[in-house]
């Protein structure tokens, strides 16, 4: 994996905590110049389209922090589905995290995009998503594999052009279910995600981060009106 891994697994499930880490603090002008990590207990994700080259998916282990009744925190092993793209494009994006702070409900919402369903305006490299429930229209192209073990899935490449071994951090001894495709396109995507990580250079036009009162949601994503280009 290129770049620093900012504790994706260890921070899963931190109670009522959203981390939007703008690595280069590039919020200015609505463009992120570098990387983004979004972590939370769970976040609602909605996008009209997610398209990528060198797609992989695997059931993986993760560690969740769970707060006990007595206030102590214990670590619990859970399973998630992790999806990764070496190179990705997004058509609009909305992420909403519900927070309860001082007894009041808030929603922290990140939105981005150009508002044009015909364009796939967000370019990103090395995208990873962790979740337990994702819905949408899925198309896979090129060489498509179901039943490949998670540790054998490939997404990103090394500088010498070879594939990085086990890019999704699947536990090799478990030989859990995976899928792999040359190209993948998800449209009208909604889901509950535990983490989203974009390691490579990343631009998100129209980026807005808002704190809203109450529990608000992302609007249902409309279908794209043009293919990814």
């Amino acid at each position: 994996m290129n770049g620093t891994r900012w504790g994706r697994s260890a921070l899963l499930g931190v109670p009522s905590l959203l981390v939007v880490f703008l690595l280069s603090l590039g919020l200015r002008t609505g463009l992120l110049a570098s990387s983004v990590v979004i972590q939370s207990g769970t976040a609602d994700l909605a996008t009209s389209g997610l398209y990528g080259i060198d797609f992989g998916l695997s059931v993986v282990d993760a560690t969740q922090k769970v707060k006990q009744a007595d206030g102590t925190v214990v670590l619990k092993n859970i399973r998630l589905v992790r999806a990764g793209f070496a190179e990705g494009k997004l058509n609009e994006l909305c992420i909403a995290v519900h927070q309860k702070i001082a007894g009041l409900d808030f929603t922290l919402k990140l939105t981005g995009g150009d508002g044009n369903m015909a364009t796939w305006e967000v370019d990103a490299r090395n995208v990873e998503l962790d979740g337990q429930l994702v819905a949408g229209t899925l198309t896979l192209d090129g060489v498509v594999k179901f039943g490949i073990t998670g540790e054998d899935v490939t997404t990103i490449k090394n500088p010498d052009g070879t594939y990085v071994d086990n890019p999704l951090d699947a536990t090799p001894s478990q030989h859990r279910f995976g899928a792999d495709a040359t190209f993948a396109e998800f449209t009208k995507v909604t889901g509950k995600v535990y983490a989203m990580e974009i390691v490579g250079p990343f631009t998100l036009p129209g980026l807005k981060v808002k704190l809203e009162s109450g529990n608000t949601t992302c609007p249902a994503p409309p279908a794209p009106t043009g293919p990814p280009s």
Binding site: T139, G147, T149, E185, S213
Partner: protein, 204 residues
């Protein structure tokens, strides 16, 4: 207003804390995969079979159609832990499922489901007019056809059938779908699952 400011401050504090202290306990990607690849299939195959289901008994009527469905014979495959399985190698061309497609792996530590209400496509013809196909290595084939009156568990070896069925089930180890001329951004995909849901149950 004070509560709102406090909430914003808490969030900002979280941002700063995490930015300053990146976690180093996460194992780096690149750990050796250490699995055994099957030489015929070309990748490491899960040792636990997953259920594949097209159509549903309760729906009735023909629900899946294959321009070509052929059993390429019984074969032995090596799965990721180095053990072997005796399976049949099936090949579908232009497979369309009108209702209900399900891929489901159930293990003691989770259940993974990819479901779609249909219609879905596996294989077809791409923009260049070239046929695409789907290979399945599986055991436990069962399908119902013939006015939904007969349940069959085999098809003749090496005989391509243009067939419609009511439902079909099998226990798969590996599925591959192949487009010989893929074009980025095109939608002539060998796997098309509109309205799909991917879920992981029992993992927590």
């Amino acid at each position: 207003m004070i509560a709102r400011l406090a909430a914003a401050a808490a969030v900002l504090a979280a941002l700063v804390t995490t930015a300053v202290f990146p976690d180093i306990s996460v194992s780096a990607a690149g750990a050796a995969s250490g699995c055994v690849k099957d030489t015929k299939i070309g990748f490491c195959v899960v040792p636990t079979a997953y259920k594949v289901e097209f159509g549903r008994d309760s729906i009735g009527g023909y629900q899946w159609h294959a321009y070509s469905f052929v059993d390429l014979g019984t074969t032995t495959i090596t799965v990721a832990d180095g053990t072997t399985r005796s399976v049949n190698h099936y090949r579908f061309s232009r497979l369309v499922v009108d209702q209900n497609a399900l891929i489901q792996q159930t293990r003691s530590d989770y259940q993974m489901r990819i479901g779609a209400p249909g219609p879905i496509e596996l294989g077809g013809a791409n923009n260049a007019g070239t046929s695409m196909w789907t290979d399945v290595w599986a055991s436990g084939l069962e399908f119902r056809w013939g006015l939904c009156l007969f349940t069959w568990s085999w098809v003749p070896d090496d005989l391509s059938l243009n067939i419609s069925g009511c439902w079909l089930r099998l226990d798969a180890y590996a599925i591959t779908a192949y487009n010989p001329q893929p074009q980025p951004g095109q939608r002539d995909n060998p796997v098309y699952l509109p309205g799909a849901t991917l879920s992981l149950l029992g993992g927590t």
